[in-house]
């Protein structure tokens, strides 16, 4: 690992100071504060639908961070998959489980103090660790690192097999989700030949 770190050639402690941030850093920090704040609100608000919307803010902010880190393709995938589908799925989930609109007093479980303690402890531990380890590391952002072209090249030259395996996984998840959400009621199933009667029956019910 240390050889890898040295190869990156990014250990130049004297040159970079935290007191003189670059423009990218300032933007990164501002957006980071936004992301963090949205995440915190998302996990603490008592309005369930608002939590999902604040999650949108946090994930969108993260997409901006990816852009700032020059990972363009990942940023767009983030916007497409997360903002476009996952959040929508979550909203559907909330509605299908009849989540109340407005403030619900029992949004948090009785486990909250312990959760707070564990969260703070893990934050403190990890921040200490990360700061201690990467205090003086510097990311050189010059040059394209994550353009769509570049991403396509390495993805389909080096990562083809995992990519294909992942598509099988997605298919399995799809099938699994269908199996899980299917109702056990056979009468509601449409059968060949008497589609109409089945539909009317299900309507009557």
């Amino acid at each position: 690992m240390s050889a890898l770190l040295a190869a990156a050639g990014s250990l130049e402690p004297a040159a970079r100071s935290y007191l003189s941030p670059t423009g990218q850093e300032i933007v990164f920090l501002l957006v980071g504060v936004l992301v963090l704040g949205a995440a915190v609100v998302s996990v603490t608000t008592r309005q369930l639908v608002h939590a999902a919307l604040w999650l949108v803010v946090a994930l969108g902010g993260l997409a901006v961070e990816f852009l700032l880190l020059t990972a363009e393709f990942v940023a767009w995938v983030q916007v497409l998959v997360y903002l476009g589908s996952v959040v929508v799925l979550v909203l559907f989930g909330l509605m299908l489980t009849r989540a109340p609109i407005g403030r619900s007093p029992d949004a948090d479980s009785g486990n909250r103090p312990a959760a707070l303690a564990v969260g703070v402890a893990s934050a403190a531990t990890l921040v200490t660790l990360v700061v201690d380890a990467f205090r003086s590391s510097w990311i050189d952002l010059s040059g394209p690192a994550g353009t769509t072209r570049l991403t396509g090249e390495f993805l389909f030259s080096h990562w083809v097999l995992p990519f294909e395996a992942l598509s099988v996984l997605l298919l399995a998840a799809l099938v699994g989700a269908i199996v899980l959400s299917r109702t056990k009621d056979d009468r509601a199933k449409p059968r060949p030949g008497n589609l109409r009667t089945a539909l009317t029956k299900s309507k009557e019910r």
């Binding site: 486990n111 312990a114 959760a115 893990s122 531990t125």
Partner: protein
């Protein structure tokens, strides 16, 4: 001579016992012949062996039993005058006891096993007598111990019998442990277990620790022959059936100890200290047991204490270095004590009680059981040592031996120098013997008068007192009938040696020739002294009896003549001078307290650990159950908290 004869003597009763035990349950009819015939045959064979051997001859034969690393153990046979005499006595008494038992225990459901054990007992005693090897002798010695345990506990339904059998076993074993060590030490010192070679080594002074060996052996002898510190089992052993008492007291168990010392007397002569211990033991035993005998109310306990006292005589003779006198007294005592016990059995059978004071209030016992009256008279006269009964000669020979020892010229014969016996031993035994002669005569007369000359106060028999000793055999016979012939005739058979043994033996001089060859003639001084004290004892007892009867006639509460004679000693003597209480306080209670402590420790401490080992996981499991809420969030919290904790710990450590 034919070796098969002496070998068959111990083997036959043992085979009879095995056969009796094997067939007793299925064919009860065989029990009686299987009991009597082997023992009677063995008795005849013993007599034939003795006659073939003749006087003054010895026979030694041995076959090696097993090669050992150390001193070898061999199946050795040793026959001489002593073994002849004692084996004939054992055969006679055992046969009488077996015949007597066929009638006495006629209706007993456990008769087959009883008879088999008596046979085994006899076989063991034969083995002890004939054995020429110490280890083989020890086998017979221990077989007798276990047989006595079973036979004394024959009436195991009663608590008395159970306690008495246990006590007999434990007390004799208490002596047997040092005895065993003594035998090993003797074998190690002499390099052999063959008695003949041991004695030769001892006579040459080849033993390294004679005093230690002699004292260790004495412990076993004291246990087996009921000498002073370990005598307490014998009076309690009366809980067994009366024929067993006769067997134990006359011919087998108690005789074994005396016989052993007689055989190994050269070893004892090597150590003056052991002789002094033996003499003191004998003197204390003699006088103490005679006092106790005078105070007892139970007929059989009187006889038991009398046995202890007579064994004291024998031990005294051995301490004086004269084994002839000891064995002479052993044989004559065996005859008259067997007679007395069997007679006592008849009396108890007829009177339905053991209690002397109850018998003293019964009219006409002497008319109902005249056989017992006269034979017991012979036995008691022999016991008291009245001329010309056998007891007179044997007791006087003991006193003569003591007198010689007191003058420094002990009758050790060819076994060792006369100077080996300290004069103090002689004096001790002599004084104690004379005192005991007085007391013996007194209690013999008291017994006789109380049993056969009782007078009913109100013209009818009284029930036994509430506190009278319980006789387990009470209802075994109908009092209206005469006692069976098997019981009466054996009394007369035994009365013959009790009457004539001493006279016949000494008139023709065959007895001394059979033994060590020394004269057994009574010296004039002790003869006069012994007879005089015995006569005095008789007179005193008679006077006391008259006084008591006169008082009773005057309307006062009738009393025991012993109470008059003993005065303040009466109550302690009745209770054996508190030796039992002493043992109970010194040994039994501390042992029980220790056992209770151990029990407490086991129950309260050790078991608590065990229970705790079971309960702690139980409680732990119950506590852990509370964590199993089924709430996945809680589990996850604990998991992550643990992970963070571990990370922190690792970070802090490194």
């Amino acid at each position: 001579m034919n070796l098969a004869l002496p070998i068959l003597v111990p083997v036959l009763p043992a085979l009879g016992a095995a056969a009796g035990l094997a067939t007793g349950r299925r064919y009860p009819g065989l029990a009686r012949p299987l009991a009597v015939l082997p023992v009677a045959t063995a008795a005849v064979l013993a007599l034939v062996t003795a006659l073939q051997l003749g006087t003054g001859a010895t026979l030694d034969a041995a076959t090696r039993l097993a090669p050992t690393g150390g001193p070898e153990i061999s199946l050795a046979l040793h026959l001489d005058g002593f073994t002849s005499l004692i084996s004939v006595l054992v055969g006679l008494v055992a046969t009488c006891v077996q015949i007597y038992s066929t009638a006495y225990l006629k209706d007993d459901p456990r008769y087959p096993s009883y008879a088999a054990l008596v046979s085994l007992f006899t076989a063991a005693m034969f083995l002890v007598v004939y054995s020429g090897d110490l280890i083989v002798l020890l086998v017979g010695w221990e077989v007798m111990g276990i047989c006595s345990y079973f036979l004394i506990g024959h009436h195991w339904e009663t608590a008395d019998a159970r306690a008495a059998s246990l006590k007999a076993f434990l007390v004799t074993k208490l002596g047997d442990v040092p005895f065993l060590f003594g035998l090993f030490l003797l074998g190690a010192d002499a390099g052999t277990f063959r008695i003949g070679e041991v004695l030769r080594t001892a006579a040459d002074g080849g033993l390294h620790h004679p005093t230690l060996i002699a004292l260790l052996l004495l412990a076993g002898v004291a246990g087996k022959s009921a000498q002073f510190p370990l005598h307490t089992w014998l009076p309690d052993a009366m809980a067994g059936p009366t024929p067993v008492s006769a067997l134990i007291h006359a011919a087998t168990m108690v005789a074994a100890g005396i016989y052993l010392v007689a055989r190994l007397l050269p070893v004892f002569l090597q150590s003056s200290a052991a002789l002094v211990v033996l003499a003191v033991m004998a003197a204390v035993t003699m006088v103490g047991s005679a006092l106790c005998a005078l105070a007892q109310d139970d007929l059989k306990r009187v006889l038991a204490y009398s046995t202890v006292g007579q064994l004291g005589y024998m031990a005294g003779a051995l301490a004086s270095g004269d084994r002839q006198a000891a064995v002479f007294h052993l044989v004559s005592h065996g005859a008259f004590k067997a007679l007395l016990f069997l007679g006592a059995g008849v009396v108890i059978h007829a009177a339905h009680t053991n209690s002397l004071s109850a018998m003293a209030r019964m009219d006409g016992l002497r008319h109902r059981i005249q056989d017992a009256q006269w034979t017991m008279a012979i036995g008691l006269l022999a016991l008291a040592g009245v001329f010309p009964f056998s007891g007179f000669f044997s007791k006087e020979s003991v006193l003569t031996a003591a007198e010689h020892a007191a003058h420094g010229e002990a009758l050790t014969g060819s076994l060792g120098p006369a100077s080996a016996v300290p004069t103090a031993v002689g004096w001790t035994v002599l004084v104690a013997g004379l005192l005991t002669a007085l007391l013996t005569a007194a209690y013999a007369l008291r017994l006789w008068l109380a049993v056969f000359y009782g007078r009913s106060r109100n013209g009818k028999d009284l029930a036994p007192q509430a506190g009278a000793p319980y006789s387990p055999e009470i209802d075994e016979a109908d009092p209206a009938h005469l006692e069976p012939a098997a019981m009466r005739l054996t009394l007369w058979v035994l009365a013959v040696p009790a009457l004539a043994f001493g006279l016949a033996g000494l008139r023709t001089d065959w007895l001394p020739a059979l033994l060590d060859g020394e004269s057994l003639r009574v010296s004039f001084a002790t003869g006069v002294l012994g007879t005089g004290t015995a006569a005095a004892g008789v007179l005193i007892a008679w006077a006391a009896w008259r006084t008591v009867n006169a008082r009773a006639a005057a309307g006062q509460q009738p009393a025991d003549p012993a109470r008059l004679l003993l005065g303040p000693l009466y109550r302690p003597a009745q209770h054996g001078f508190g030796v039992d209480q002493l043992y109970s306080a010194v040994f039994v209670r501390p042992t029980e307290a220790a056992a209770r402590l151990v029990r407490f420790l086991d129950r309260a401490v050790v078991e608590t650990y065990v229970r705790g080992a079971g309960a702690a996981p139980g409680w732990l499991g119950r506590a852990v159950r509370f964590a199993q809420t089924g709430n996945a969030q809680g589990y996850l919290t604990a998991l992550l908290a643990g992970a963070v904790l571990l990370a922190v710990l690792v970070a802090v450590r490194s």
